[in-house]
Symmetry: C2
Subunit: 342 residues, 2 copies
């Protein structure tokens, strides 16, 4: 049974999900090595739709296409961190606060090709993945018990991926994540003081400086942050100020697909194909927007995407302090990535 | 050149230390496999004292012992994350705040035996390691530019250790770590409300419940926290309320050595010898004690040690939200560890 518990000394919610320990892991088997478009034993490959829980959403060519003719396909995670049958009722205790493991955990199969890679998809195919993120996060945010929708991607075993078929994940939680609370607080404090958006201001300053810029197109600005916690950590900011990802403009989707593809391909060129990384979308919490705390957050917060390559292992210092030692200077990382663009 | 920079959107200091990328790594070589007490190429083995920077501190048998006759030995890290020649002067800018990489980074060789393990040392030998932690952290905290002294241990490549000879590390920083600030804030809020120490109260409640207790002796209480972020995460609390580790009572040192040994050995028994883990000591920040913010912190905060086995890989959800999915229930972890005590 899944449970969400508060670590009282740190005021952090943890998801206790013993069911997750049963999930399969294909990296030690043939599946990983299989450099084939379709693999019989992969539950995410076309033709194996019956091996996943019932489909939630898919993009297919035409109305009459076969079940296996999908371009992008979403289904519940078979080993969910949270599930809709949990209960969001909170047991309050000053020391032992908890709630049932209510929430949603979905898998987005990004391409039918088992040996595909997000960075190598055509831009219009990446657009379909982004449209799927928008569709699903809008839907999940409509559930009044859901506080936040987290969209993320793990590539490679070192980044925590357990299956190699290209996929993203969406976890909708009945709490606002730690890092979001921190980002809202900092953005809010900046806005209170300067009457402008921290992220808009930062983008302007980074563009003027240029040393940490990776690329930009009409819609997005991509850079390595000045205080990057991880080597080659890279952020994608939409140029148009919006607090919430699902409100992205129709014209921005293609720009986002292009910026994401170019950035990931520069990393592939610089490291190696299938280098391990995580990315996640940081957005305004639906619960705050619903509860009309929106006025401030809409002005002060700016949704964005953060890519974190997994090149080093955080150790005791990081685990004990929550601060990071980054062994690659942000300026060097940005220069290397600019040189690897093609 | 090392630099400490603020990540403005998260209000976190990051240490940018490109020099760290040059450090040697022995896990892929003979050194790791060498199941020998002394290894010629290991810079931490007795007889190789000249391969480390000049010794800072050591415990030797008698006054006239040879240089290589040490029991515990401390020297500067050859590839420091911070060093005493940096400058702690802050460059303030609303977006790009930074300071030079001033600080200390020391290595504590815990035993002369290359193939030793902290869990297998005799209790009086572990006491020497703890005495060394006290000695060094007291000394480092005397530097008025130092805000915090972090003591930690990495075992195994998966836990970020780069050399296999048993050792701990000490990093003294000119800033108060993220996690410490969070812990002080939560402990302070609890104390304001209840007029008691959160940790003392928690220890009492955990003992009464018993499900998450691993062990206790006269001086220490060891348990898996209710909201544990990581599988088998285990905390050691001193029973006597003290905010600051170096103020540990003389009589408590042996108790701490015993509790630490029994806990690590239960983990070794349950997992395997040399299972990967980190531990870190969480303590009141010297800068606050010096600045006479001590009155509140002394009452509200309670130093302790946190052990985090490295059994799973945090992935995109954890990186993007700062919350953790733990696949082992705290009650089960505690039961398994209790059963593995011997």
């Amino acid at each position: 049974m899944v449970e969400i518990r508060k670590e009282v000394t740190k005021n952090e919610w943890s998801i206790i999900a013993p069911t997750r320990s049963d999930r399969p892991f294909d990296f030690s088997t043939e599946l990983r090595k299989a450099n084939k478009e379709n693999v019989q034993d992969c539950p995410f490959c076309p033709g194996n739709e019956s091996k996943t829980p019932p489909e939630i959403y898919a993009i297919r060519e035409g109305e009459e296409s076969k079940e296996s003719d999908w371009k992008v396909r979403v289904f519940p995670n078979k080993y969910p961190a949270l599930d809709r049958y949990g209960t969001a009722s909170v047991i309050e205790s000053d020391l032992f606060e908890s709630m049932g493991g209510f929430g949603y955990h979905e898998v987005v199969a990004e391409t039918p090709k088992h040996n595909g890679s997000l960075a190598e998809l055509e831009i219009d195919k990446i657009e379909l993945v982004i449209r799927t993120y928008i569709e699903r996060s809008t839907e999940l945010a409509n559930d009044p018990e859901i506080d936040y929708v987290s969209i993320f991607r793990n590539q490679g075993k070192e980044a925590g991926a357990s299956l190699s078929h290209p996929h993203s994940q969406i976890i909708a939680t009945p709490f606002v994540p730690n890092m979001s609370r921190t980002e809202y607080r900092e953005a809010g404090a900046f806005h209170d003081q300067k009457r402008e958006c921290l992220y808009c201001r930062l983008m302007e300053a980074e563009r003027a400086d240029g040393q940490r810029t990776v690329l930009e197109n009409d819609g997005f600005f991509v850079f390595v942050p000045f205080g990057a916690r991880f080597p080659y950590e890279t952020h994608l900011y939409p140029k148009t100020h919006r607090s919430s990802f699902p409100e992205i403009g129709a014209g921005e989707i293609g720009q986002m697909a292009e910026a994401l593809k170019l950035t990931l391909r520069a990393m592939s060129n610089h490291f190696t194909d299938f280098f391990p990384y995580n990315y996640s979308i940081h957005t305004a919490a639906p619960v705050y927007l619903r509860n009309r705390k929106d006025l401030d957050l809409k002005k002060s917060y700016h949704w964005h995407l953060e890519i974190i390559p997994r090149l080093t292992t955080p150790a005791g210092f990081e685990r004990g302090t929550g601060n990071y030692i980054n062994i690659v200077s942000p300026e060097r990382a940005a220069r290397k990535l600019r040189n690897a663009l093609n």
